[in-house]
Symmetry: C2
Subunit: 229 residues, 2 copies
């Protein structure tokens, strides 16, 4: 029984890092589908919603069973509770990647992004993939130094998001209203993806230290970018 308990606890950790890897791969593929207007790839990304939801449900079930049958305490309890929080953020990261792929599908065969805006999204895609990779490492190693750094690394995303809004709001915006609407929502999806990665890192800090600093967008976090005009 106790052995099964430790296996289940280890499983819970594995689920988290595997789901982070999936969320990262999903965003990487979604970014490529967006940048290359690749419909087949966009479809494959969109179909991952069921896999992501299965992973969430499985992890929640393991966590609930552990709580019900083993009454874990101290750091074991924190592992279980943080797993419940973390899978919600990881599922949301996957869903946001799927939203990116849906934008690519909706405009296909046209490209969503005008040429002048592509470079910002290439960088946002790169930062998103980096944040997801870091999240995977943080979940696997429980390295709280890396976890504490993630908020700062996410500020790269916030900077890109601000840059995007500066371009959108410039009087010489040349790509019309539809592109502006698509791009403002896409920018938001990338920015939220980064926020959820930071939320996961905060839950790992709680897991390791017991210090509960909240998850997604608490008052402790960086405010969302509010580009001034």
């Amino acid at each position: 029984m106790r052995q099964a308990y430790h296996v289940q606890l280890a499983d819970l950790g594995d689920h988290g890092s595997r789901m982070a890897r999936l969320a990262g791969d999903t965003m990487r593929d979604a970014s490529r589908a967006l940048l290359e207007a690749d419909l087949a790839l966009a479809e494959r990304v969109i179909n991952r919603d069921v896999v992501l939801d299965d992973m969430r449900a499985t992890t929640e079930d393991v966590a609930l069973e552990l709580l019900a049958l083993q009454s874990p305490v101290a750091s074991d309890l924190r592992s279980v509770v943080s797993a419940l929080w973390i899978v919600a953020d990881l599922q949301r990261m996957g869903t946001l990647a799927i939203h990116v792929a849906k934008a690519a599908r909706r405009r296909h065969p046209a490209a969503v992004l005008p040429d002048g805006i592509r470079p910002v999204f290439e960088r946002m895609g790169g930062v998103a993939a980096h944040l997801a990779d870091r999240t995977e490492v943080i979940l696997r190693t429980r390295d709280i130094e890396l976890a504490r750094q993630l908020d700062g690394e996410d500020s790269l995303m916030d900077d890109l998001h601000s840059e995007l809004f500066t371009a959108l709001m410039a009087p010489d915006w040349a790509y019309g209203v539809q592109a502006a609407v698509d791009i403002s929502l896409l920018g938001r999806f990338y920015e939220r993806f980064g926020d959820h990665a930071v939320a996961v890192s905060r839950r790992v800090i709680f897991l390791v230290t017991g210090e509960n600093v909240g998850g997604d967008t608490t008052v402790y976090g960086a405010p969302p970018p509010e580009p001034e005009r």
Copy 2:
């Protein structure tokens, strides 16, 4: 000790319904600040972020203490776990309302909404307030019939969101790019507010029945609106 336990469990439920009331009031005020370009009201809404975060932290602490010291099982365990999920959604509802208020503040003294678009937001604000009110009742009464209906009621929000995008994408859109960007993000904030209300209702279904159908935007839920052109 057992008496304290039941008091703490009841407290947890109270926190949820109180926080739902605050989230609803915050969105009601934010909508008014947006529609009336009321800067003072927008500021008051924005300052509620600390209150919302305190409520989240307090609820999480009570839930964690219950898990650590009382090892609840069966429906008591579900109450505690669902409280952890629910406060995250309620905090996010408050944050989304604050984003609405920030849009009003950013454009003040100008109005964010052109006259032709105001009616859609008046209705979105009404639906958001209704969904939050229902969420409060569902949390207070644990009425799972009401909880099961909420998804359908949220489809009113999805319809308004689609209507908004149809207007934004119409060739005769007359309000320029900046308004289109503001409005597409505002529409998204209202739509996500409704999604989180539905997520809370799903967690109440879990609390009462043990049936875990997930929370925010699972594959079981309605897909986000994707207005076709």
